[in-house]
Amino acid sequence: MAEKSLLQNKDWCKGCGVCVGFCPKQVLVIENEKCVIAYPEKCIFCGQCELRCPDNAIYIVGGTKDE
């Protein structure tokens, strides 16, 4: 299975900061009113950001659903 990675759709992001607040590993930061994946190497793919992003602008790809 392909390796997991955290991706983002900057066009849809409104910079609300919900993902930044919920991220347990401080992977995300707000820069110029948009979320930026600043430290992708720290990401543990918990899915908190994807679960609560109101704009479907951040998501995880790869891996299987059970992982």
């Binding site: 991706l7 759709n9 409104k14 109101p54 704009d55 995880i60 790809v61």
Partner: protein, 274 residues
């Protein structure tokens, strides 16, 4: 133009060419809309068999982004239209998405009568405690004492408990989740979809732009955290009643299937066709 820069669920169930949606940054409606879509996916409904109906308001923009059979109707009348759809074709899975003003103010009567009939419609209310689209007027669910543009000195009306209202009116499945408790919300909607009868699920949403700003609730993350700290599941309160003091109750409140309306109607039709 197809936008593929999003997850599989979004590509499958959303009209991505309509995105990004119009809701304000941090609005809880987007999160709740995702719970609806995930629940439909989990239950495994065919997209063509699902009809999503809405009225007017911020929440009612949701079906515009969802790739099912959708209908955006008049203020408060979503359930009236949905009743017509269900009666005309009882095989369809009819889902109604309404806001708090839509469902409990102008559409309050439709809500109680749809519940009384126990017609098989899954009603999901995105409750953000305010009329967001029109500029932050207080709604029937704005808590007592809270501020709104039309209540600059505090709201003197008492808020509706929508779940109790729906249950009292005859809904056979009633539950409440929040934008923070997204997995619970999804579970409630799944069970609501599976219930043959009127299911009412209230999703507490957040409006950082009007309700949040007027009441100094902080940013969207702080409003999510408020739900985290102040909501208690009904199952916990049943065991330890003191844990529910001054808290918002969430979870499955009522689940008691009864005869469904279109089935009752079919019995009458069959009687005359013999």
């Amino acid at each position: 133009m197809t936008n593929t820069n999003c997850n599989e669920m979004t590509q499958k169930y959303y009209r991505v060419d309509r995105m990004p949606h119009i809701w304000c940054p941090g609005c809880g409606h987007g999160t709740l809309m995702n719970t609806v879509v995930r629940a439909i996916d989990k239950v495994g409904l065919n997209k063509d068999d699902v009809v999503v109906v809405s009225g007017i308001g911020c929440s009612s923009r949701a079906p515009g982004y969802m790739d099912f059979n959708t209908l955006h109707t008049t203020h408060g009348r979503a359930l009236a239209f949905a009743t017509g759809i269900k009666m005309a074709n009882p095989k369809l899975h009819v889902i109604v998405i309404m806001g708090d003003g839509d469902s409990s103010a102008i559409g309050g009567n439709h809500l109680i009568h749809a519940a009384r009939r126990n017609i098989d419609i899954t009603t999901i209310v995105f409750n953000n405690n305010i009329y967001g689209m029109t500029g932050g007027q207080f709604s029937p669910t704005t808590p007592y004492g809270d501020f709104a543009t039309t209540a600059p000195f505090g709201n003197i009306d008492k808020a509706f408990d929508l779940c109790s209202l729906a249950q009292g009116a005859g809904a056979t499945y009633v539950g409440r989740g929040t934008a923070y408790h997204a997995p619970l919300m999804q579970k409630l909607i799944e069970k609501g979809l599976e219930n043959k009868g009127f299911s009412f699920i209230e999703g507490l949403s957040l409006c950082p732009t009007y309700y949040g700003r007027k009441n100094k609730k902080g940013n969207a993350f702080k409003m999510h955290s408020y739900f985290k700290d102040n909501c208690v599941d009904i199952k916990v309160v049943e065991k330890n009643p003191e844990k529910g003091e001054n808290k918002i109750l969430i979870g499955e409140f009522y689940n008691s299937p009864k005869t469904e309306y279109t089935e009752g109607y079919q019995v009458i039709i069959d009687k005359f066709q013999k």
